[in-house]
Structure formats: structure tokens, C-alpha cells
Symmetry: C2
């Protein structure tokens, strides 16, 4: 994905917030793809389970928390991975997932609004 036009601001904020400058069409396409990855309740909950877990999360600990099939969970995890929100590694029988904080921080920064 292109990072053109995204301004490095400080450790906590990586992008110019939309409350400070309007996105150009290319930035909007890139940003909307990130929001889309989190726009499904199962994916958002998977993301929160992975992000709130210290260290890695085994897929075996995720599937039993949902009333949907294993392949459905795998599909949603793939969407999160392709969006750069999580990464994973297969070890033996299971796949282990961990969050990519930079991507979460990037979305958060995009939405930052003045404290006032």
C-alpha cells in the first residue's frame, strides 16, 4: 500500500488526522480498506482477542469462542492478515497469531481529534 502523503508526526501518531486535513482519493481508498477489515463483528472480536492477549494466540483458543465454523474463522483471520492487522506462523498442528500495533496505531491516528 502506498504511504504517500502520510506524515510521520510523533511516536504516538503516524498520520495526519482527518480532523486536520482532508484525505485525497488515494489516501481514502487505503484508509477505507483498513476500516473495512474491522467492519465485521467477528473480525473485530477476533482482533480484540488477539490484541489483548500477551504474546501469541493459538487459533485453537479462538475458534471455540465463536458459533461459526473453523473455516469461517480462518477466512476472517486471513482478511485481518491481508490488511496488515495481524501476522501468524504455523507451528505443528496450529497457527499462532499476534497483532501488528503499527497498523492499529495508524487507524487510530487517522481519527485523532483534539482533546478539547
Amino acid at each position: 500500500m502506498s504511504k504517500q502523503g502520510l506524515t510521520v508526526r510523533s511516536a504516538g501518531t503516524c498520520c495526519t488526522p482527518i480532523s486536520e486535513a482532508a484525505l485525497d482519493p488515494a489516501q481514502a481508498v487505503e484508509g477505507a480498506a483498513l476500516f473495512k477489515a474491522l467492519s465485521d463483528p467477528i473480525r473485530l472480536r477476533l482482533m480484540s482477542l488477539i490484541a489483548s492477549n500477551t504474546g501469541e494466540t493459538c487459533v485453537c483458543d479462538l475458534t471455540d469462542k465463536f458459533d461459526v465454523s473453523g473455516p469461517t474463522i480462518s477466512h476472517h483471520l486471513k482478511v485481518l492478515r491481508e490488511a496488515g492487522l495481524v501476522d501468524c506462523e504455523r507451528r505443528g498442528t496450529w497457527v499462532y497469531y499476534w497483532p501488528i500495533p503499527e497498523t492499529l496505531r495508524r487507524i487510530s491516528s487517522l481519527l485523532a481529534v483534539p482533546a478539547g
Copy 2:
């Protein structure tokens, strides 16, 4: 929308970040709806145009920035309004929009990750 389980933390953060606690199914449904509202490039750009403008934004200043019809813009603005991201008022011929910072802050807080 239910705010059950969302913890008031400080002026800058209104919700428990997903990196601290996993969302329950109801919170995930509520959060995903907010992300969905911003998951379309036209809506995200509309949101950034409205949020980055000091004061109100006339719909007449929005439509000419997109290669889509007026009714399409109106549809997307309605989605943003129903999600609680903007509000509006009709005055004479035109409708004027302004952002609701609390909702942007809420999404941002949901994604907050430790600075480290």
C-alpha cells in the same frame, strides 16, 4: 446503541482499548458498525472533508469534489449521520454538516495501543 461495558477512562480515551480487553459479542457488533460507516472510500473522504473544516460544511461544497451523483453523496452522508459521526441541519436550499468528535474519539480509543 448500548454503552454497556465501555469504561470512561479519561478525556482522551472513552473506551477500553481492544489491546487491553477483548470485546464481548455485543460490543463487537456496536464497534463494527462504526468501522463499517468509514469502510467506504467516498464516506471516509466525506468524513475527512467535514472533520477538517472549521465549523460547518455545506453539502454544496462537497458534491463537486467527487465524480459521483448528488444522490450518491447524500446516501453516504446519511450513513455517516446514522452512525453518529456527523450531524446536519437544513437551512434554505442547502444542508450543512459538522463532525461529532465524540464518535471519532470513541473509535480511536477502541484501537489505542501502548506507545511502546
